[in-house]
C-alpha cells in the first residue's frame, strides 16, 4: 500500500465511522515486513519472510468505546459495523483522541536495515555459532537473526494525524550442551534499529557463560547472598517490577504501590526510568500507539516512587495525564506498557561483588520467573543458568536450584548496584544487582 493510498483508505474509514454514529473515531494502521533467518543445530534452517498489514478502529458511540480490527485490504463497511456493534458493551470512554502531535524527534529508522542482504544476516548468525563452537566444539547452537521494518499510522476524527517508520535488527545465539542427561543452556543477543550490532560482546558473554559452567557445584537450601547479572535482572525482576508501575494496576488497586507515590519505597541508590526517546533503540518511538508524545518517565528516583505509566483511557479514569505509554498489537485495544526500561548504574564492579561473597549464587537466567503472584511482585524460578560463589570466586554451575523473593521487598535492601550496565535485547538496560539475602531451595 502506497502512503497516499493508505491515507485515503484511513479517511474513508473515519468518515464511515462518523456516519455510523461515532462521536469520535480513531484508526490505527500498521504495515510490517520482516525477515527472520533461523539456524538450528549449527546449520541454517529457514529463511522466512512475513508481510502483514491491517487496520484497527476505535469508536466512541454514546459515550462507550467500540473496537474492531481487520487484515482484509479495503474492508471498510464490515470493520465499521463490527466496531459500532461492540460499543454498547464496551467501557465508558474517559478519553479524547489527541488532536495535535508535538512529538519529539526520535530516530528509530535506518534505511540500511531494509536493504540488508540476506547473506549478511546469514553471515551474522554463522559467525556467532562459529565463535561459540570454537570455545566448545561439542555444543549445538540455534541462532536467530531478524530484520524488520514497520510503518505505524494513527489518525483520528479530532484531526490528530501521526505516522512514523521504524526498523529493527537483532541477532541471538542459544547453545545447548548435553552430557549424559545433563543439559547446559547458554545464550545472548543484541538488538538495534540500525545495522550495527555488537556481535563481539554477544560472543564474549556466551563464552564467559561456558567458562563459568565448566564445573558443577551444589548449594544447600538456605538464605544467601544472590547476584543477578543484567541478564538475570531482565529475566526475573523487570517484569514484576514494571507491572507495579502500570497506572491501570494502580487505579484498580492491584499494584502494591497504591498510595506510595512520592514515598521512599526502595534503596536510596536506585533509579529506574522508562524512556521511549532514546535514539535507535527498538523500544523507542516518537509517540505511543495512541499518538501521545514520548517522554522520559521517572519511575523510581533515588528510591522514591516518582510516577506511574498511563495510556489515555486509564489517565482519564485516574484523573492523571497520559505518559505516552500505550502499546497495542493490531487485534487488541491499547494497554499500558514499558518502552525502554532503564536501571541506572551503581558503583560496584561485578568482579568486586563476587569477591565479597563467602557463599552465594549468581543468577543469569531464572526459568518460570513469570509465573506466580507477579502482580504482587513475587518472582521465583528454577536457576536455568547460574553459578555458585565460594570464597569470593565462581566455582561452577548450579542445578536443581530455585530462587524466590519479592521484588519490592528485595529492592529495599539492595547490597550493591553494578557499575557495568548493558542492554538486554532492544528494550531493557540494567546493571547487575546484588541482594544480601534471598531464599534458595535446592534438591541437594
Amino acid at each position: 500500500m502506497q502512503h497516499g493510498e493508505g491515507k485515503v483508505a484511513i479517511d474513508r474509514i473515519l468518515m464511515a465511522a462518523r456516519s455510523a454514529g461515532a462521536g469520535q473515531a480513531e484508526v490505527f494502521s500498521v504495515e510490517t515486513e520482516e525477515m527472520p533467518v533461523r539456524f538450528e543445530a549449527n546449520r541454517l534452517k529457514e529463511i522466512n519472510s512475513r508481510q502483514t498489514s491491517g487496520v484497527a478502529l476505535r469508536v466512541i458511540v454514546d459515550g462507550r468505546i467500540g473496537f474492531a480490527s481487520s487484515t482484509k485490504p479495503g474492508d471498510v463497511e464490515e470493520l465499521v459495523a463490527a466496531a459500532v456493534e461492540t460499543a454498547p458493551f464496551g467501557p465508558e470512554a474517559h478519553l479524547d483522541f489527541p488532536s495535535d502531535g508535538q512529538a519529539p524527534q526520535v530516530e528509530v529508522f535506518d534505511p540500511a536495515v531494509e536493504s540488508l542482504a540476506v547473506d549478511e544476516m546469514i553471515q551474522a548468525g554463522q559467525s556467532l555459532i562459529d565463535a561459540v563452537r570454537r570455545t566448545e566444539p561439542e555444543i549445538l547452537c540455534d541462532a536467530f537473526v531478524r530484520r524488520g521494518a514497520s510503518t505505524v499510522t494513527i489518525e483520528n476524527s479530532n484531526g490528530g494525524s501521526f505516522t512514523y517508520q521504524g526498523t529493527g535488527y537483532s541477532a541471538w545465539v542459544h547453545g545447548t550442551l548435553i552430557r549424559g542427561t545433563d543439559m547446559l543452556f547458554v545464550g545472548d543477543g543484541d538488538a538495534s534499529c540500525r545495522t550495527e550490532l555488537d556481535l563481539k560482546a554477544v560472543e564474549a558473554s556466551v563464552i564467559s557463560q561456558l567458562e563459568n559452567s565448566r564445573r558443577t557445584a551444589e548449594v544447600k537450601t538456605a538464605e544467601m547472598p544472590v547476584i543477578f547479572t543484567p541478564l538475570g535482572v531482565a529475566s526475573a525482576l523487570i517484569g514484576p517490577l514494571a507491572i507495579a508501575f502500570s497506572g491501570r494496576m494502580v487505579h484498580q488497586g492491584q499494584s502494591p504501590l497504591v498510595g506510595q507515590l512520592g514515598k521512599e519505597m526502595y534503596v536510596a541508590r536506585l533509579s529506574v526510568w522508562d524512556d521511549a526517546t532514546l535514539a535507535y533503540r527498538p523500544g523507542s518511538r516518537p509517540f505511543d500507539d495512541e499518538g501521545v508524545a514520548s517522554r522520559r518517565i521517572p519511575l523510581i528516583e533515588k528510591g522514591v516512587v516518582r510516577s506511574f505509566m498511563y495510556d489515555l483511557q486509564t489517565a482519564g479514569l485516574a484523573k492523571a495525564e497520559s505518559t505516552g505509554s500505550a502499546e497495542r498489537s493490531l487485534a487488541a485495544q491499547p494497554s499500558i506498557s514499558t518502552s525502554c526500561l532503564l536501571v541506572d548504574e551503581g558503583d560496584v564492579r561485578f568482579a568486586e561483588m563476587v569477591r565479597g561473597v563467602k557463599e552465594g549464587l549468581v543468577v543469569e537466567e531464572l526459568m518460570g520467573a513469570g509465573q506466580g503472584n507477579v502482580m504482587g511482585g513475587d518472582f521465583s524460578g528454577n536457576v536455568l543458568l547460574g553459578y555458585k560463589i565460594e570464597g569470593g570466586e565462581i566455582t561452577g554451575r548450579v542445578k536443581d536450584t530455585m530462587v524466590a523473593g519479592n521484588v519490592h521487598a528485595a529492592l529495599k535492601h539492595v547490597a550493591a548496584i553494578g557499575r557495568e550496565a548493558r542492554w538486554i535485547g532492544g528494550s531493557v538496560r540494567t546493571p547487575a544487582l546484588m541482594f544480601e539475602r534471598l531464599t534458595v531451595s535446592s534438591g541437594h
Binding site: 502483514t52 456493534e85 492491584q254 526459568m367 518460570g368 509465573q371 521465583s380 524460578g381 530455585m402
Partner: protein
C-alpha cells in the same frame, strides 16, 4: 513465506523459491502421507455464535458480582473469547483439506488486598466447539473470591523437598511440561546426544506409568482430524508401562528419523511454519483412591490447579494455583502459591502412585518458537511424586 496483500502473490512466490534455494544445501526428505481431499464439518454442541453479545456480557457480569460480593476482594478480572477459525490446506501432492473450529476460552481472577499485601486466585478454562461451560461458573467464581481472601492469611510453604500430590489439572500441566516437550522430535532429530537420551525402550517411569498424546482423542482443545501438513490425527503411545515407546513427528522429523508421521505438525496460523507440537497429552489413570494416595504422607504438599509451567527439557518448573500442606495423611492448611521444580529424568521415576480419577485441563495455550498460544489440552489422574523441590512463591 506469508503475506496478506494478494496483489503481491507473484513477488512472494519468487521470494519463497529464492529462500528455499538459499537454505537447501541438503534435501529435506518429507515422510509420505496419503493425499486427502476432505471437508470436515463443524460438530457443534452449543454454538457461541448464536449467543447474543448482551447475554454473554450478562453471564460474565454475574460472575464479576459474585466475586466482588466476597468481603475482602478488591478487584476482579474476567476475560472471555470465542474464536472461529477456518483453515484450508492445499498441497501440490493433491491434498485439499478444509477444517473449522471454535475455541471458547475464559479466565476468572479475584484479587484481595490488605496493607500492601496482595493475593490473587484465578482459573483458566476452555472448550472446543462448546459454549456450555461458560454458563455454570457461579460456584467457581465464589470459590475464587473466597480463596483470594483466605490467601492473605495463608503462610508461605517452607522451601524444601517434599512428597507432592498433584490434582489432575496440575498433573496434566506437569505431564505436558516435564515430559511432553521432550517427546517432540524436532528437539531430537538432528541432535545425536538427544537421540541417545530419547532412545526408544529407555525406562522413564515405573511400570504403572502410561503417557499418550493424540489429536484423535475427540472433543478436546487439542483435537482435530488432520494436522497442518495434511497428516491424519492419531493417538501415539509415548510411554507404555514406564518405557519410551514413541514420539511426536512432523513429516520432516519422521522422514529424517525413518519413522511414521504422527499428525503433530501444527502452525499457530498461516504466518507460521508447521512445527512439531503436542495435541491432547495425558497420563492414563491408575487404581488408587485419592484417600490412599495421601494416606501415608507424613508431611507433604497437595498442589492443585494450573498457574503456569515451562521447561528446559532436562529441568522444568510449574506453579500451582492452589496448595495445601498434607499432614499425617490428611489435607491441612492452605498455603500461598507454590512453585515446583525438578529434573525430568528423576521425577518421572519418582511418580509412585496414580489415582483412579481423570480430568483434562483445557484452559492452557502452549508456546514454542514464538508460536503462542496454541490450543492444547492435558490430562491426568491425581499423582503422587516423591522428593519434589518446592519453592516458596
Amino acid at each position: 513465506m506469508s503475506f496478506n496483500e494478494p496483489a503481491d502473490l507473484r513477488k512472494r512466490v519468487e521470494e519463497a523459491v529464492a529462500a528455499a534455494r538459499h537454505v537447501g544445501r541438503e534435501t529435506s526428505a518429507l515422510a509420505q502421507v496419503e493425499p486427502v481431499v476432505d471437508s470436515v464439518a463443524l460438530v457443534l454442541k452449543n454454538d457461541p455464535r448464536t449467543v447474543p453479545l448482551a447475554t454473554k456480557k450478562e453471564i460474565l457480569d454475574r460472575y464479576n458480582e459474585t466475586m466482588l460480593a466476597v468481603e475482602g476482594v478488591t478487584s476482579t478480572n474476567i476475560t472471555y473469547s470465542d474464536g472461529h477459525k477456518r483453515v484450508t490446506f492445499a498441497s501440490s501432492e493433491g491434498s485439499f483439506i478444509e477444517q473449522e473450529r471454535i475455541d471458547v476460552v475464559s479466565r476468572l481472577a479475584a484479587t484481595a488486598r490488605r496493607n500492601g499485601d496482595m493475593q490473587q486466585a484465578s482459573m483458566s478454562l476452555g472448550a472446543l466447539n462448546d459454549f456450555s461451560y461458560i454458563e455454570t461458573l457461579d460456584e467457581t467464581a465464589k470459590r475464587l473470591g473466597e480463596r483470594a481472601v483466605e490467601l492473605l492469611s495463608a503462610p508461605y510453604v517452607k522451601a524444601g523437598t517434599y512428597p507432592v500430590v498433584l490434582d489432575p489439572i496440575l498433573a496434566g500441566v506437569f505431564c505436558h511440561e516435564a515430559f511432553g516437550h521432550l517427546s517432540e522430535s524436532d528437539f531430537v532429530y538432528e541432535n545425536e546426544r538427544m537421540k541417545e537420551i530419547m532412545v526408544l525402550g529407555r525406562q522413564f517411569g515405573q511400570p504403572h506409568l502410561n503417557i499418550v498424546d493424540g489429536a484423535a482423542v475427540p472433543d478436546l482443545r487439542g483435537s482435530f482430524k488432520y494436522d497442518d501438513e495434511g497428516a491424519p490425527a492419531r493417538k501415539t503411545d509415548l510411554i507404555r508401562e514406564g518405557v519410551l515407546l514413541g514420539r511426536l513427528h512432523s513429516r520432516e522429523t519422521a522422514g529424517k528419523m525413518g519413522e511414521k508421521p504422527t499428525g503433530n505438525a501444527r502452525a499457530l496460523d498461516y504466518r507460521f511454519p508447521p512445527i512439531v507440537r503436542m495435541t491432547n497429552t495425558y497420563i492414563e489413570p491408575g487404581e488408587t483412591s485419592f484417600e490412599d494416595v495421601i494416606a501415608d504422607i507424613e508431611e507433604g504438599v497437595y498442589a492443585r490447579n494450573w498457574f503456569g509451567g515451562t521447561t528446559s527439557m532436562e529441568m522444568f518448573t510449574f506453579s500451582a494455583g492452589e496448595a495445601y500442606m498434607i499432614r499425617n495423611g490428611k489435607i491441612a492448611e492452605l498455603l500461598r502459591p507454590v512453585k515446583l521444580t525438578g529434573n525430568l529424568f528423576t521425577t518421572l521415576l519418582n511418580i509412585d502412585a496414580l489415582g483412579n480419577d481423570m480430568d483434562f485441563n483445557q484452559g492452557g495455550g502452549c508456546g514454542k518458537a514464538g508460536q503462542m498460544p496454541l490450543p492444547v489440552s492435558n490430562g491426568s489422574p491425581h499423582i503422587r511424586i516423591r522428593d519434589v523441590v518446592v519453592g516458596e512463591r
